[in-house]
C-alpha cells in the first residue's frame, strides 16, 4: 500500500518559506499571485494491505513523528 502524507503549517502560523516564494514569483514577473504556502509531502510505502488499518497506522505516524500538531496540520491520502 502506498500513501501520501501532506504536512502543512496551520492557518495563522507564519510561513516564511511560502512568503519568500511568493515574493520571488512576483520578482520573476508573475502577476496575480495570492498567498503561497509551503508544506511537506511524505510518500510512504506500507506492507499493510488493509485500508483502514493503514489509515490508522498513518494517523499514528503523523501524530508521533511526521507532524507537530502544535503548528502543523496533516492529511493522509492512500493512493493504492
Amino acid at each position: 500500500m502506498k500513501a501520501n502524507v501532506t504536512v502543512t503549517l496551520k492557518r495563522g502560523v507564519l510561513d516564511p518559506q511560502g512568503k519568500a516564494i511568493g515574493h520571488a514569483l512576483e520578482g520573476l514577473g508573475f502577476d496575480g499571485i495570492g498567498e503561497v504556502r509551503q508544506g511537506k509531502l511524505i510518500e510512504v510505502e506500507l506492507a499493510e494491505t488493509d485500508r483502514k488499518a493503514a489509515q490508522a497506522k498513518l494517523d499514528e505516524m503523523c501524530r508521533k513523528l511526521l507532524a507537530n500538531t502544535v503548528i502543523e496540520d496533516y492529511a493522509i491520502e492512500i493512493v493504492e
Binding site: 516564511p16 518559506q17 519568500a20 516564494i21 520571488a24 520578482g27 520573476l28 509551503q38
Partner: protein
C-alpha cells in the same frame, strides 16, 4: 585588480570574502547589491556565502533568478573570472553556469568544521599558488553541500579536468571516510567548460589569519589577486 562581490538579501559572508581579497590583493572589492544589472569593468566577480533569501525553497534558487545574476552570466560569457563559494556555488548551479546541484548533506545536518581539500589541478587564477596534489586546511559551513550530478556529467567533468578540489584528509587521501557531506566523488569544487567559472563549497576566505582559521586559504587568493 577590480573585484565585485554580489550581495543578496541574506548573504552573510561577503565581509569575510572582502577581507580575504583585500588581504591578498591590497585592494578593496566593491559590494554590489542584487538589484544592480551592470558589472562591466571587473576582473573578478565573487558570489559569496550565506543564506540568500533564507535558503528558502532551495538554496540559491531565488538568487539565481535575480537581475545581478544575469549580469554575472554576461560577464562570464565574456571571459571574466567568476568564483562562487558555498551559497555562491549553489547559486551558480541554479543559474546553470555550473553543472549539477548541491543537495542536503548526507548526514542531514549542518556541518561547520575545519577540513582538508586536495587540489586536483592548478588552474589560474582560482588555485593561486596551489599545485596539483597540494592539500589545504579550510573551513566548511553548510547544510547543502552534497554535490550531485548524473554519471555522464561527472565523467565529463573528470575528463575535462574540471574537478578542482576534493574533500580529503591532511595526507591527501580521498575516500568515503574523508567525504564529509556525501558529495559524488568527494567533489568540493568544479569549473565550467571554459574554465573561467569556479564553484566550491569550502570557505578559503575564513583561512586567511594565523590566529583564526589559519592561513592556508591565502594560497588560493594569492592567485586571484595576481600576486602569487
Amino acid at each position: 585588480m577590480k573585484t565585485a562581490i554580489t550581495v543578496f538579501p541574506g548573504t552573510n559572508r561577503e565581509r569575510d570574502m572582502a577581507a580575504a581579497i583585500e588581504k591578498a590583493s591590497g585592494s578593496k572589492p566593491d559590494l554590489i547589491w542584487h538589484g544592480e544589472s551592470d558589472l562591466a569593468g571587473y576582473d573578478l566577480i565573487v558570489v559569496p556565502g550565506g543564506f540568500s533569501y533564507g535558503d528558502y525553497l532551495r538554496c540559491g534558487a531565488m538568487a539565481g533568478n535575480s537581475p545581478i545574476m544575469r549580469a554575472v552570466k554576461q560577464q562570464a560569457e565574456r571571459g571574466v573570472a567568476v568564483l562562487g563559494v558555498c551559497n555562491g556555488f549553489q547559486v551558480l548551479t541554479e543559474t546553470g553556469m555550473l553543472p549539477g546541484v548541491l543537495m542536503r548533506n548526507a548526514g542531514l545536518k549542518f556541518i561547520c568544521k575545519m577540513t582538508h581539500i586536495r587540489c586536483e589541478r592548478s588552474h589560474a587564477p582560482f588555485t593561486g599558488s596551489l599545485n596539483q596534489g597540494d592539500v589545504i586546511k579550510v573551513a566548511v559551513a553548510h547544510n547543502e553541500g552534497n554535490y550531485f550530478a548524473d554519471e555522464d556529467t561527472l565523467d565529463r567533468l573528470e575528463g575535462g579536468g574540471r574537478v578542482v578540489f576534493r574533500y580529503s584528509n591532511a595526507a591527501g587521501l580521498v575516500d568515503a571516510t574523508t567525504n564529509l557531506n556525501g558529495s559524488q566523488r568527494n567533489i568540493a569544487g568544479i569549473l565550467n567548460e571554459s574554465g573561467n567559472v569556479m564553484g566550491m563549497m569550502p570557505h578559503p576566505e575564513n583561512a586567511i589569519d594565523a590566529l583564526a582559521g589559519g592561513v592556508e586559504g591565502l594560497k588560493m587568493f594569492a592567485g586571484l589577486a595576481g600576486t602569487a
